[in-house]
Chain length 251, copies 3
Amino acid sequence: MIRVNDDAGVRTIALNRPDTLNAFNGQQFDDLTEALLAAREDSGCRVVVLTGTGRAFSAGADLSEMAAAGPPPRHGFAGMLDVVFDFPKPFVVAINGLGVGVGATIVGIADFAFMAESARLRCPFSELGLVAEAASTHTFPALMGRQRAMWFLMAAEWMDAAACKAAGLVLDVFPDDGFAAAVQARAAHLAALPTESLGHMKRLIAGPGRERLREAAAAENATLAKLVGGPANREALAAFREKRKPDFSNL
Amino acid sequence: MIRVNDDAGVRTIALNRPDTLNAFNGQQFDDLTEALLAAREDSGCRVVVLTGTGRAFSAGADLSEMAAAGPPPRHGFAGMLDVVFDFPKPFVVAINGLGVGVGATIVGIADFAFMAESARLRCPFSELGLVAEAASTHTFPALMGRQRAMWFLMAAEWMDAAACKAAGLVLDVFPDDGFAAAVQARAAHLAALPTESLGHMKRLIAGPGRERLREAAAAENATLAKLVGGPANREALAAFREKRKPDFSNL
Amino acid sequence: MIRVNDDAGVRTIALNRPDTLNAFNGQQFDDLTEALLAAREDSGCRVVVLTGTGRAFSAGADLSEMAAAGPPPRHGFAGMLDVVFDFPKPFVVAINGLGVGVGATIVGIADFAFMAESARLRCPFSELGLVAEAASTHTFPALMGRQRAMWFLMAAEWMDAAACKAAGLVLDVFPDDGFAAAVQARAAHLAALPTESLGHMKRLIAGPGRERLREAAAAENATLAKLVGGPANREALAAFREKRKPDFSNL
């Protein structure tokens, strides 16, 4: 479910379920977490890039598989978040195509995000009767200002690459053609610098905010636990199954 | 002093003293506070829009009436702030025309602000020998960065709609012609989404910063109490009465 | 090492070692600190502007002189920072030409920064096997968002004036021709306003964050003490002496 490639100190981890637009299921979260743990320990890996295979970055949590019975994942979404929150090396997200849900909110916990020109992001949480996750209720206001962040998280509208860059949600936008190479060049630039300096710099910049990230994620999770299966969430899923527009007017 | 209109789950509250450019007096603060309390309790109201009647949004505190004898307002400015700080539903400010003083700083405690193309904002506090209020010494740096915020709050210069949008002080700018309809469309988009999700999202995003808002407003108020009637404030008011430029060079 | 000029309540302090591109040595930090302490106490000084003489703003710490034996500076870098952190009057930085190292990070602790059109900034810390200072690991993310700040602090690349303004790192950019006069006009605008209001406004805006500034600077200094003379730092300095590209691939 993951493809890993090393080049010039840069480890690229690609989500590899293109048939589902790289939607996350429990196994995918586990595989990504294990790949990040291995990257953390490998001294030959100086910078990590997370991207997607095919035309999407990630369609977000795979709701169909989430509902399916099966063994609980070893790390899951929460375990993956923990590893990213504390990741000691530069962590780059390369949005090669559409990103939805956690495929959008993960940008907030990246050190750097780059985006292909035609890519776009969407947070459909409110449409599902839910709230945002991955600490995005904290990271997005910090990156974009409260008004832009609240609109993006509440309104469930698409945000294109140019708007993401203008808002400060991603550092730069590159043409679709040659996107991976452009990201590799930026990542390799970092990888050629002293690893110890970059690690300390990241700790100095991101360390003081880590506790706040955990608090935001915990508050989001507690709220999600209340909302999943509630009236708005049930109406959203029913409308999806019945291929009709949901009606939240009485909720 | 207030006009209220409901449409598609959106309650629009319009400041309605166009002859004074919607300057706030004690009664106006009370009426607005009561309207917000009613909107909070009414389950048919899902989103609140605050705007102005006529060509101005609000000229700020009406200094002439403030000085006048009369019964103290029930809620006043402080009571209005308290209700906005804790308001559980999306609170939109629609700057239809000029906004001065609290007519500008209220943008900082809105969830979303929209601005008509020809509208502009100004914070004349330093020119009056005073300091800013409505927690803007905290909200403006958070929205615009410290340098832009400090200049806007200190320099008493006009900021036009394009600059407000570029700085992140307002979410979007719409043409004057059709401004109210454009705001209504954005607000109605939110109002059609599950209220409970929006309320939780707002709590997750804004809740952790609320205590800091109260502290900022309290520190501003304590400072204002010292500065009102002081030498610079007296010189500013005298110059205004005598239609001359104030001279602060020896203060 | 410092030139001081007063005009209309604005005290301009110019770094004056143009032959070294205004690199800081211990004496320069001491002279600047004394000039700031004098400006703080002088009631005729209402606004302070820091700029550079010649074609550079400041090339940063003068590493050659740092290594030289000699009496320790009275205030030094740490003493200068302390005075700026608590400076009670508007403190403007006017980037007339290139700024490197502390010549870039000082922008983060300015109230306002203006930049000449052709000026540019660079943070070479990682290339030297070091980390950033002057609390920039806190101030730069606050001004630019975490992604832009982390890239600027880690990647050691130049950032030109237009990019600095777009990112919110400087308030405005003026043409090289007439740059000093344009800055003086903005500073004099502030100086004509009531000093007491500006001082209270600065305290309300900047005061709550001061402890965090000190913590960031202390954490940076503790890290620098570990990294100076370490393997990456030694390789960087050896490569500089030997006029070759440093090789950090095994570090």
